[in-house]
């Protein structure tokens, strides 16, 4: 382990200087070349968004709650099919990949969690969850960006990859003053074809155009982009192929996580990474042990499990958290699906996580306990879960800046699923 780190560092040093060539060497690169970015055991957080409102009740199934079976006559997961976790809750059978993570106490679950805002609009709810300010539309930036901005000064020497999102656009959660990079594919993240001898020159020209542009929006993004391009070239994360046993499922989500793993393994100084997976909006024929919900939970859990295997020891300093804009109706609808609901389930995975436990208060599925008479009630605000991750794991003590207008001291409500 120690040896491989040395090699990597030496490689960084040599290749960084080789790639930069005639251009002025950016300070972050010299720092990357001469120092070890991960020195001091940098803490990392990986945030995953399930877009489209995942059906938390068919993901972590309250199989001990008889109401669950009454409310969902055709789309329930039968008790004998559920992967039981604690006698009351269990995983969807296609999420077997999560069981070992649960058994080794790295995986925790927070059920009946979500946003207190009543909206059932995908768009608004995603927006609120990513801005971190439910009910407030005027918030310009995202919670994850603020988390990076408040704790850290905007140090030019820092790696451009401290905040990174996988995908063709930067998610709301990461937009804001702190420089964040969107990468759709690490293999073609650059200007021109790598085999083209002209590529470096063209890249430099674009860089200089954007650096000198008075168009502030494009100027800022341009700088972040080219810093990242250079660093990525130097570190060449594509050579970190998945380790044995890390079997990523086919598809965009698996690809995203594979690339996050590559960025982590290449020592690029990633502190927060964001990826998302769509396709959870099952209004019709949701399925039960088979069908749409089974397929997507399989892809979801296998990708995360593969990622966890892939990053190996890096998991010690990593916490991964999942969320979705809202849950779905407790009762199945008229077309063997579910409509937009309220509370959902969040997964928290990581070395410092006190896993093997379902956290949060279970409100029950009795009619009188259902939110607006139809949906699972939110008993844990999603910001409480994220706050705990930020505070206890990332060491971010400025929670009031990350979640303005939230609890003055969210620590009082911490569920204590992360070790400090």
């Amino acid at each position: 382990m120690f040896n491989s780190k040395i090699t990597r560092r030496v490689f960084m040093k040599n290749s960084a200087l080789a790639v930069v060539g005639t251009a002025v060497i950016p300070s972050f690169l010299t720092r990357a070349a001469y120092a070890d970015l991960t020195e001091g055991g940098k803490k990392r957080m990986v945030v995953l968004f399930q877009r489209g409102a995942a059906d938390g009740l068919n993901i972590v199934i309250p199989h001990g709650d008889p109401m669950y079976y009454q409310l969902r006559p055709t789309i329930n997961i039968p008790q004998n099919a559920v992967i039981d976790l604690d006698g009351y809750f269990g995983l969807h059978p296609s999420m077997a990949a999560f069981k070992p993570l649960w058994d080794t106490k790295q995986l925790a679950i927070v059920h009946a969690s979500g946003s207190p805002d009543e909206t059932r609009s995908h768009f608004d709810a995603q927006d609120y969850m990513e801005s971190g300010t439910p009910g407030v539309k005027s918030t310009d930036d995202g919670w994850l960006n603020r988390a990076m901005a408040c704790e850290h000064s905007k140090d030019e020497k820092d790696s451009p990859f401290r905040a990174v999102a996988l995908g063709t656009s930067l998610p709301r959660a990461l937009s804001g003053t702190f420089p964040a990079v969107a990468v759709s594919n690490i293999n073609d993240f650059g200007v021109g074809n790598a085999r083209n001898p002209m590529a470096a020159g063209l890249s430099n020209s674009f860089e200089s155009m954007y650096a000198g542009s008075v168009d502030t929006v494009l100027h800022g993004t341009g700088k972040e982009t080219f810093d990242a391009v250079k660093m990525l070239k130097a570190a060449d994360p594509s050579k970190y192929t998945p380790v044995n046993g890390a079997n990523y499922p086919r598809g965009r989500f698996g690809d995203s996580l594979k690339q996050v793993a590559q960025l982590l393994k290449a020592d690029l100084g990633v502190e927060v990474a964001f990826a998302d997976i769509g396709g959870w909006d099952h209004h019709v024929n949701e399925g039960n042990t088979q069908g749409q919900i089974a397929n997507i939970t399989r892809e979801f859990s296998q990708a995360i499990a593969a990622f966890w295997t892939d990053i190996g020891d890096l998991g010690t300093d990593t916490v991964l958290v999942t969320m979705s804009e809202f849950g779905r109706t407790a009762k199945e609808n008229g077309t063997r699906g579910t409509d937009h609901g309220h509370a959902n389930v969040m997964f928290v995975l990581g070395g410092p996580v006190k896993g093997g436990k379902v956290y949060g208060r279970w409100p029950g599925l009795d009619q009188r306990h259902l939110y607006e008479g139809r949906d699972l009630e939110v008993t844990t605000d999603f910001r409480t879960v994220l706050s705990e991750g930020l505070y206890n794991h990332m060491g971010n003590h400025e929670l009031a800046k990350v979640f303005p207008g939230f609890d003055a001291d969210p620590r009082k409500k911490f569920l204590n699923f992360v070790r400090t």
């Binding site: 990468v183 759709s184 063209l202 674009f206 200089s208």
Partner: protein, 688 residues
């Protein structure tokens, strides 16, 4: 916070630039006209072109200036007066664009139909070419079944099989070499075919057995497959493509058709508005029957109304099968409807479910015999999806003042708005048996029980609501003026909306003649979406598009695949979504690739980038850059971009010719590619 300040700074900068550039012109005009007067006529023309079209082509600014900007705008608002025959000629190869959904299903059969024919539930078509498509697909279907069965037989080896020769059993090896031999003969067949006339070639292929055809096609590379189709009619090409993938023919033509229209239509505003309304009333082409319903949706429900009355486009989308499928309404059933309760009430009994052509999509919600209510069938009921998105995204807007109770009531109102046999490309129909009985209450108003009339009433109510007027006006202003449009503008547009019974043309007219539209801070204030970027680059370079598929692939890469936005929100049109590192790199790379003239299916005359008036080629880097920037940026090139390009051209290490341009000033294609590629990827070209 930062974003806001960036934006403000930008606006301030732009205002300053525009103001400085036109001081002489402003002089002593009246206050109301002041903002307009700050742009001279050719700037106004460019601004109008940037907003009403997918970007100016070479010579457009001059044409619009000569006609007069206001007159040109008026013409664009009346597209029927504009001759568009050149576009029609370019579209004539895309036959599916004019076909109804039923014929699309028949000629380009989806997997369900293939299965039905394979299982003998549906008949094989008699036309030989169509029959060949069915046979090819049935062959593929059976192959797949066989593979599945084999995989089941030896599950343990499934991962290794076929990947590594070393792992093959002797039999497998033998089989493989037999296949290779077969391929070799098939190649000979292909060679023989190449000598035949296109028609004979087509007929020979159609007559081949599915197995022979499969082996032949597998043996051919992309290029020889293309060659095989040389000289064939569009219909013949489609049919050959359909043998490999029938559905892709429909989607491919839909996507190419959209790009070709955006690039070549003279009725540019109509295209921009078609894009706008399709995006507003988004459907997802990959969702079930929408694979073949989207073509007619855009053609019949969207396009005819893009400059008409809002209520008409709203009604047209609500009664289009593509929308009812996309937002699941076709399956929604009133909990107390006849169908849910299993009642017959003396209505003629429906046809029994027999095979493919008697089947609706998904499970059939209708009871098959009406003797007693079937417990399972009773479980079908309400689906809120359409009701919610109708109010949130299509009319009132999320803050339009409706509640969850309204969503549920509207869902009841629209029960029975369904599709007759969607899987066969069937039409919209109102089915009374699915409709929830009783009065409903929507937005505080009682909707008396009245079948389909209830829904019509609700659509009218929504279409004439002030919240809708405001929501639609704001969205239009965001497309045409600024990401954060001035409230005064939105208000005056909304006033026109309400005064004219939602006449979109009049709302646009109000906007185009507003002070805010022509304000200096609006000039080049919009960051292009990927679609706008790609199409504007193709238009401004005068690229000849023989095949728009490579452009569609670029859009996919940039995160904006056409007709393939899954959530009902459609694509956002504000800068925050489209300005990020991944996106910028993709744009730069596209600019370079397009300007290289080497993209498949796209012909670029590089000389033309120098503009029409260059008798002699530019004698140095400076004048070359100036000439190209006139063509691509209407001369609006920043000092920084200009200097960077010059530097690249004059550095022997960076110039593709290996020599500084000023030392060997004869302009070459390679220089032009560099100049144009850098310019298309420059910050200036990202805005419109």
């Amino acid at each position: 916070m930062q974003k806001l300040s960036r934006r403000k700074k930008l606006i301030a900068t732009l205002a300053l630039v525009a103001a400085c550039g036109s001081i002489a012109v402003v002089a002593a005009s009246k206050p109301k006209k002041a903002a307009i007067a700050q742009m001279d006529e050719s700037k106004r023309a460019l601004h109008a072109l940037n907003r009403l079209t997918f970007g100016p082509r070479p010579g457009d600014v001059e044409k619009v200036t000569a006609m007069g900007v206001d007159k040109w705008i008026d013409l664009q608002l009346n597209p029927q007066k504009i001759d568009d025959s050149a576009l029609q000629a370019r579209l004539q190869n895309f036959r599916t664009l004019n076909m109804d959904a039923r014929s699309l299903v028949q000629e380009f059969p989806p997997p369900q139909l293939i299965k039905a024919v394979a299982d003998g539930r549906s008949r094989m078509p008699s036309d030989p070419a169509e029959r060949a498509i069915y046979q090819a697909r049935i062959d593929a279907y059976k192959q797949k079944q066989q593979k599945k069965a084999e995989a089941g037989d030896n599950n343990a080896n499934i991962d290794d099989a076929g990947q590594n020769d070393a792992n093959l059993t002797p039999e497998q090896r033998q089989q493989r070499s037999a296949q290779q031999e077969e391929r070799m003969y098939a190649e000979l067949d292909a060679d023989a075919l190449a000598d035949k006339s296109p028609n004979d070639r087509f007929n020979a292929i159609v007559r081949m057995s599915p197995e022979d055809r499969r082996t032949m096609v597998q043996s051919m590379g992309q290029e020889s497959r293309q060659k095989l189709m040389d000289g064939m009619s569009p219909e013949q090409r489609e049919q050959l493509q359909a043998m490999a993938n029938p559905q892709s023919v429909i989607i491919n033509e839909l996507v190419q058709g959209k790009l070709i229209r955006a690039i070549y239509s003279e009725r540019q505003l109509e295209e921009v508005m078609t894009d706008f309304w399709f995006n507003h009333f988004n459907v997802y082409v990959q969702k079930n029957a929408d694979r073949f319903l989207t073509t007619s949706y855009e053609r019949d429900a969207i396009r005819p109304h893009v400059l008409g009355k809002f209520k008409d486009i709203l009604m047209a989308t609500a009664t289009d099968p593509a929308m009812m499928v996309y937002l699941d309404n076709f399956q929604s059933i009133g909990p107390h409807s006849d169908a849910a309760l299993g009642l017959n009430r003396n209505r003629p009994q429906r046809r029994q479910n027999r095979g493919f052509f008697g089947r609706t999509f998904g499970d059939n919600p209708r009871p098959q015999n009406n003797k007693q209510p079937d417990k399972q069938k009773q479980k079908r009921g309400l689906n809120e999806n359409y009701a919610r998105e109708l109010m949130e995204l299509q009319t009132l807007g999320v803050d339009g003042g409706y509640t969850q109770a309204d969503v549920t009531e509207v869902a009841k109102v629209f029960t029975g708005w369904t599709v007759k046999q969607p899987q066969q490309g069937g039409n919209f129909q109102f089915d009374e048996r699915l409709h929830e009985p009783g009065d409903k209450k929507v937005l505080g108003k009682k909707i008396k029980e009245g079948g389909m009339g209830e829904g019509k009433k609700v659509l009218d109510m929504l279409a004439s609501s002030p919240a809708t007027a405001h929501f639609i006006s704001k969205k239009l202003a965001m497309r045409f003026v600024a990401d954060d449009p001035p409230p005064s503008l939105v208000d005056s547009m909304a006033t026109t909306f309400l005064k004219t019974d939602g006449d979109i043309k009049e709302v646009l007219r109000t906007m185009f003649h507003s002070q805010e539209f022509w304000a200096p801070e609006a000039y080049r204030a919009k960051v292009k979406t990927p679609l706008e970027f790609v199409v504007s680059a193709v238009r401004v370079t005068g690229t000849d598009v023989q095949n728009a598929q490579p452009l569609a692939q670029q859009l996919q890469k940039m995160g904006m695949p056409l007709y393939a936005m899954q959530p009902p929100t459609g694509y956002k049109m504000t800068a925050d979504v489209w300005v990020n590192s991944a996106a910028l790199l993709n744009r730069m790379n596209f600019g370079l690739a397009l300007a290289s003239g080497k993209m498949r299916g796209l012909g670029l005359d590089k000389e033309s980038l120098l503009g029409p008036n260059t008798a002699a080629p530019p004698a140095d880097a400076d004048s070359a850059v100036a000439a190209v920037s006139r063509t691509l940026l209407d001369g609006d090139i920043s000092q920084q971009t200009h200097d960077t390009i010059i530097k690249q051209l004059n550095d022997p290490q960076l110039n593709p010719r290996g020599v500084a341009m000023n030392d060997n000033p004869r302009l070459r294609d390679a220089d032009l590619s560099v100049i144009a590629g850098l310019m298309l990827g420059s910050p200036e070209f990202q805005r419109r």
